[in-house]
Amino acid sequence: MERRERGLLENIDWTTILTYLALVFIGWISIYSAVYDEAHKSILDLDARYGKQLIWIGVSLLIALFILVIDPKFFSQTSYLWYGIFIVMLLAVLAVGSETKGAKSWFGVGDFGIQPSEFAKATTALALAKILSGIDVDMKNLRTKFAAITIVAIPMLLVLLQNDTGSALVFFVFVLVLFREGLSLSVLIFGAAMAILFVLSLVINPYVLIGILFVITIIIWRLNRKRKLSIWLCLGLFVFAAGVVLSVEYVYDNALESHQKDRIEVLLGQKSDPKGVEYNVNQSKIAIGSGGFFGKGFLKGTQTKYNFVPEQDTDFIFCTIGEEWGFVGSVFVIGLYLYLMVRLIKMAERQRSKFSRVYGYCVTSILFAHFTINIGMTIGLLPVIGIPLPFISYGGSSLMAFTLLLFIFVRQDASRMDLV
């Protein structure tokens, strides 16, 4: 027992934990700055958001500690159980949850609320890791693919039903994990091509676009004549693409809600509405842009503090960093994330257990999705999708869920030398 403890401390990846602590600390002072008020200066005021966040940080650290001391096998053994529990929770929240900003995703208890969808990402990661670490699993196998997709699709659909499109989108990122585990590259390329086609169909007249696609098809066919690329395959792909283009409009008009369409159109420059839909993004860009190279300094931000930026301590927390710490601070935070994600990939690759490896990739992918969507939104590169910035945004569920997600992997990693 004593030997194992020492082994644990030696094997824990401290740089990951330090990076985690740095991000949490940056989050806390950013929340303090975002809601800072001359009248209530105490950073320990538990009535204020930064005070509450301090409680969440404390609770999260306790959770982290707890995870580090329990048997790592606990999670691989109980992953389906957790997955099941949270599927039930997601169903329950649909029935009895409370609604915030159009999304019915909360269990409210007084001031505090719990958002099961934040945790569902972690439990899905566990279940996915579990199913992919089974014997006779091969991504080329249709059954495996089907099982993996089902594991991801169920919580994703339930989150979508809560009207929390942002969180649902995050589940798409598991495709990276599947890719690492053997899913064909063409699926990734196909996904990317579909995304590009989707955006293009919104920007360009569909018939013009189909014409362009036809020309491209001809060119590809001509260039590949020597490889005897079937003209039928080319034509088939062309017909499929044309079908996608023609159906995008229908899907777009019927499947998306008007505020989502607005956000996309604003981003594509097809719609201008500075007081309405464009407001958030504009104010966000103004806040970040006005930070300049070195920023305005701690507590000196005017845009975030005086509420020009909406949600300045949750989804738009990056604005506070951009405004007060400038380009230097923003790049530092982005650097921390990149460092953490690359580090996690390296850690995943050194796992002897397949469960740990798949789980490590899941953690990285989820962080990557949040990082990309959240920051992309604040700097005006992606449409407004309300999901938190990991470890930094205000919110108990989010912070606890990400801590849980990360430390389960840190725990797995710490015992990577153990026999599987």
Partner: protein
């Protein structure tokens, strides 16, 4: 196989790092290359609040206050903050009904729920008292003070002018002014705008998204204080002005009185006048329209803008010019030949002095003939063109036919016709003395504003010179008055003093001798020198009188013009001028009965359509 899949980590890392780099490049553009966001952020969070300076006060020559600033209150409302409002009580205090309350609230909400808008404007101190007491009961409402011009004596409206909000054009012309600023619109308020207004300051405050103030920007480092405007110490004598307005109360016309030795204007009346307080604050709009559409044109400054025919007072100037040109001599006599031009019954004048005293029309017909029909020294031919041109020059020197340069805006120049005018008027130049002789007696084409008439009285009083009439003696602080050095130069007529003495004697005769036309202007103990005029026009004759007193070392020179007051200058204008002289020199008027008569008299007959009336409409 395993190795191939493991190498896929590089693709995934590549994707992650690519996204990171794209974001860093984007931030580089947002934060480093593009500084427009910093400006947008300032536009968001900084409010430049103008600090308005107090406008300078205006005093009369004895230190009596003519214009001051009074604190009024605007009741402001921030609709978002209105809570548990006792509507009935508020309506009662402000003096509006519920419907008005609802429209105003609706208007405020339409403007902004978060930003303040004015609910009731310019509540006087007295009315605001009870509101102030209960203001704590109306969250969302607060008071904002500002100053308005007030006129304690309700006097001299045309001199003081009024202050109003700047319009688009003024803002375009002068970038100092911003929307909502006040500016002098007429009178001294306009002429001395830059002295009176002071310098605006500015305070920068931080505001949040709801426009709530969040404190000063960088501890007020960039704030500037406002500098109060300078006071004006005018030459107006409040008591005389009040008295003059009392005399003109039921009349149309004007009075201008000047201190001859300094050119300082003692009183300046254009009747009908109005209470300057009418053009202040909430009531301005309605009152302004009322005054604008009044057929007697109370907004029209007659003393400065009405180009009247001067009538017989013009003869004094004609005599001086003719003497100076050497076309007549002090003892030149002309018979009163009524076949030339109509006249009243009097013995023929045998010299200039008597001609002035008796105001003989045929005499001045001949005098003007001598002036106009002169030999041109270059061509040695008698040509009206030459005579008229040197007559013009002489008239300009006496302050006629040109802007005098008083410190009031929009002065007219009067009109002394010149050759080019007559060439246009009589197409092809078919004019000569016989077509223009009416000018000789102050009729015809000549036009003179009452200010010029008073100035001419001052020239005679000074025996040949004047200082440009003006209204401001000093400006600046109470303790640091600066002399208005704009008006110290004496303008000489270049006509010998001995000739002027003839005019003085003649004008003394007008008032004091048998056969004089203004015996009613005589005052015991005070030697008044005057000249009457009866100006024919489309309607009933105008009654005109200029005078100065005392004869030696004159203290006051006056012109009185009463429009359409059938009866000559001696009947209305002369006694009014006489009362003013007594008031100014003696300090009180002993002739109470006469005073009462002329205060109550309303001699002006109904208004015919006249040139200047139509003109003023388009002004």
């Amino acid at each position: 196989m395993k190795n191939t899949l493991s190498s896929r980590r590089f693709i995934i890392m590549g994707i992650i790092i690519t996204v990171g780099i794209i974001y860093i490049i984007r931030l580089l553009f947002l934060q480093v290359f593009d500084d427009s966001y910093a400006q947008l952020a300032n536009r968001n969070a900084l409010r430049f609040v103008t600090q308005y300076p107090a406008r300078g006060l205006i005093y009369d020559r004895k230190g009596e206050l003519l214009v001051y600033n009074e604190l009024v209150y605007d009741l402001m409302v921030i609709p978002r903050q209105v809570k548990n409002l006792d509507t009935a009580l508020l309506c009662e205090l402000v003096g509006i009904d519920k419907e008005q309350f609802l429209t105003r609230m609706k208007k405020a909400v339409t403007y902004s729920s978060y930003a303040p808008s004015s609910f009731e404007k310019q509540i006087s101190k007295e009315d605001f008292g009870p509101i102030q007491e209960k203001l704590y009961m109306f969250p969302g409402f607060y008071a904002q003070s500002r100053t308005l011009r007030y006129y304690p004596h309700a006097v001299a409206s045309h001199v003081l002018g009024y202050v109003g909000e700047v319009n688009e054009n003024m803002i375009k012309k002068n970038p100092y002014y911003k929307k909502g600023d006040y500016i002098g619109m007429s009178g001294m308020e306009k002429y001395y705008e830059e002295i009176l207004r002071g310098t605006k300051g500015s305070k920068i405050t931080l505001v949040d998204v709801h426009n709530r103030e969040k404190g000063s920007f960088q501890n007020g480092k960039y704030d500037t204080a406002s500098i109060a405007g300078s006071n004006l110490y005018s030459s107006i004598d409040l008591q005389l002005q009040l008295y003059a307005e009392k005399l003109m109360a039921n009349k149309r016309g004007s009075i201008v009185a000047i201190e001859p030795s300094t050119g300082e204007i003692l009183c300046f009346v254009s009747a009908p006048f109005y209470d300057p307080n009418m053009l202040v604050g909430r009531v301005r709009g309605n009152n302004y329209m009322k005054l604008l559409h009044d057929i007697s044109k109370p907004l029209f400054n007659r003393a400065l803008m009405a180009e009247y025919p001067p009538g017989s007072i013009f003869k004094v100037a004609q005599a001086m010019i003719a003497l100076d040109m050497g076309v007549i001599y002090p003892d030149t006599g002309f018979p009163c030949d009524k076949s030339l031009v109509g006249c009243h019954n009097h013995p023929s004048a045998s010299n200039v002095r008597d001609a002035i005293k008796m105001s003989c029309n045929p005499y001045f017909y001949r005098v003007y003939q001598k002036i106009i029909q002169q030999k041109d020294p270059t061509t040695q031919k008698v040509e009206s063109k030459y005579g008229l041109s040197i007559w013009d020059e002489a008239m300009y020197k006496l302050g006629f036919g040109k802007r005098l340069g008083i410190d009031l805006p929009d002065s007219k120049s009067g009109f002394i016709p010149d050759t080019s005018f007559y060439n246009r008027y009589y197409k092809g130049g078919g004019w000569n003395f016989f077509t223009i002789y009416s000018n000789s007696i102050g009729q015809g084409e000549v036009g003179v504003i009452p200010l010029q008439m008073a100035n001419f009285a001052a020239i005679v009083a000074n025996r040949g010179w004047y200082i440009t009439p003006h209204l401001v003696r000093y400006y600046g602080d109470e303790n640091l008055k600066k002399r208005n050095t704009q008006y110290v130069k004496k303008n000489f007529s270049m006509i010998p003093q001995s000739y002027w003495n003839l005019a003085v004697e003649g004008m003394w005769g007008v008032v004091h001798e048998g056969g004089g036309t203004a015996r009613r202007a005589m005052i015991e103990d005070i030697a008044v020198c005057g000249k009457t005029g009866t100006a024919q026009n489309v309607g009933a004759d105008h009654s005109v009188f200029i005078c100065f007193a005392p004869k030696d070392n004159p203290k006051i020179a006056i012109s009185v013009y009463v429009e359409n007051a059938a009866g000559g200058g001696g009947t209305w204008a002369a006694p009014i001028a006489s009362l003013l002289v007594e008031k100014y020199i003696r300090g009180e008027v002993l002739r109470k009965e006469m005073e009462e008569t002329y205060i109550n008299a309303a001699p002006c007959q109904s208004l015919p359509l006249r040139r200047y009336v139509q003109k003023s409409e388009s002004d």
